[in-house]
Symmetry: C2
Subunit: 380 residues, 2 copies
Amino acid sequence: MFIKVFKLIHRDAKTQARRGVIQTMHGQVQSPFFMPVATTATVKTMSCVDLYDMQSQIVLSNTYHLYLRPGLEIMEHVGGLHQFMNWDRPILTDSGGYQAFSLTKFRKITDEGIKFRSHVDGSMHFFTPEKVMDIQRVLGSDMVMPLDECSPYPCDHRQAIRGLKRTTEWAKRTKEHFHKTGMHKRGQRLFAIVQGSVYEDLRKRSAEELLALEVDAYAIGGVSVGETVKEMFEALNWVVPLLPKDKPRYFMGIGLPDQMVKAVGLGIDMFDCSIPTRYGRHGSAFTNRGKLNIRNSEFTKDLKPLDEDCDCPVCRNYSRCYIRHLLNMNEITGVRLMSYHNLYFYIKLMEKMRAAIEADDYESFQNKFFADYNSELVNF
Amino acid sequence: MFIKVFKLIHRDAKTQARRGVIQTMHGQVQSPFFMPVATTATVKTMSCVDLYDMQSQIVLSNTYHLYLRPGLEIMEHVGGLHQFMNWDRPILTDSGGYQAFSLTKFRKITDEGIKFRSHVDGSMHFFTPEKVMDIQRVLGSDMVMPLDECSPYPCDHRQAIRGLKRTTEWAKRTKEHFHKTGMHKRGQRLFAIVQGSVYEDLRKRSAEELLALEVDAYAIGGVSVGETVKEMFEALNWVVPLLPKDKPRYFMGIGLPDQMVKAVGLGIDMFDCSIPTRYGRHGSAFTNRGKLNIRNSEFTKDLKPLDEDCDCPVCRNYSRCYIRHLLNMNEITGVRLMSYHNLYFYIKLMEKMRAAIEADDYESFQNKFFADYNSELVNF
């Protein structure tokens, strides 16, 4: 029960990049890593067998969606989310607070929690810090996120203070309830989420207040909400130096491939993002040379694979012109092939980052990646 | 070039069911068999790897759709449909006549051919018997269907005569063009399609006229167009006794599992149908005990697989309640899992029929299937 959550294996010689292992009740996760997003208990268009095949170590799922559908009664009946989706590797679940706030037509946030009307059937619900722990206990997720108040963008200093204060108060209630209900003993791991919007003083204050709580891992939240990429990395740079070296660091909802490469170099261990599947559905394929819009007419007769450097089953079997045709015909097969390749690209990219860190070579890996990818982040 | 197209391996002792092998330029197909429908160069939600995994021997694709999108220029560029979709087993392509007639807002049928306006971009096109051969030569399909006039339902005797006359005339022109352009020498195989609607005299007359042409195989068309199941099997019973024993017999667009079981017992070798994928998308799972509507609330907490007797990857890994949840959430994954199981069920059912024929046991196999499936066809 007191197994160390995070083991630091190696620090890169020249950057802040770190190689680690997170121990969970469903096995180890090698960091840094990317979590495919399985909002509704499936990564869009994929089955768990596909995710095993592409060596996804972990998935992220969503408390708000699963709470509404299929609902906790079914989750209790089947024995939790792992059983339900037949996934035997780790799962991180977010708190659902963000969705309760962003997807609903009616919601009211108070110090007690978030009252909201379901976007599915209009029924009223109330998420408190304690309630979202109870839900995640039933889901049985390996990594558990607390309810927080995610500051919108833009957000004035006063509103950002309110958000971070509430986030700290809720984190305290979360930790108390988490321990009182034995979630720690079951092997679940609790995160805290640093807020503070685009303000240096508030980001640092939020981090310091949460550090005092000594949870299992730390996330930087309230990023990728509309702010500039420069502001996003500023938030990271203010917070990371304050975070403990012996605990995982999660940059929430990030991001594009070059953003992940950059963030790992600055000491981040964990990512999640719907971009690989969402962009895939809309025709964008990721490659080391940048993003290709496969719907473009230049690919009409292109017999090359999506990515000439990729060894995924999609790139081994299908041409750009075939996949372009499927997308033009609105065929699900096309959407699936695109999603598969993009997820594979993300997962392999993290593998390459891990290898580069182990070889004390992260700086040159990053420079080469930015150059090949034609990334603007090279100048940040 | 004069390899025998069809080899009859075994006739069932008590029924008309037959076990055979069709030789094509992309290998053998064991009959009787089912062809998954890959209208637009993909079986909906599936990749070719999936179809190999479920041991699909052959797929059917569509001349009308591929002619319009991606178009023949791309097909020539990539070297045909097999290359385009990366499928190295046999392909049957229909003539596109049915789609040119049923999908378009404007079409005009004359003795020369079918003039129609594309449902995609409104452009005008003209399908003649010769033209659809030229298209299928470019596609490189193993089994080639001629342009025919499919009588609608209902259809009076006079209109049905016109349809069968034109079908015969077009079949003659088809065969001439097929040979003149060397399609036979390339190993492509030509079918003729028996029409005649619900009229015994016309069905027989159509069959006799086409028999004189001595093509490679015979199809019964103009079925599953709205007529009753009784009328559908009447057409079969009038025509099959006239067909040569040494050539494949294809019951076009059929059907439901018990209809295929029945038709095999009456001497049919080949089937195609969009039902497994279409019904799957709408929540119907096929089992030996009949069809289940997985969206029904009775499956909300059901931990059993779709089909307790099935060993497909879907039934080995996922529960009814999980798949029901995915369908309710409109998740593509759910549609794909349903489609996979249903296609697998169809393919395995044909395997079982082949084994029963080889064991001279088709009658009892059929009786047991009808009883388990609770089929109305038991009384036909």
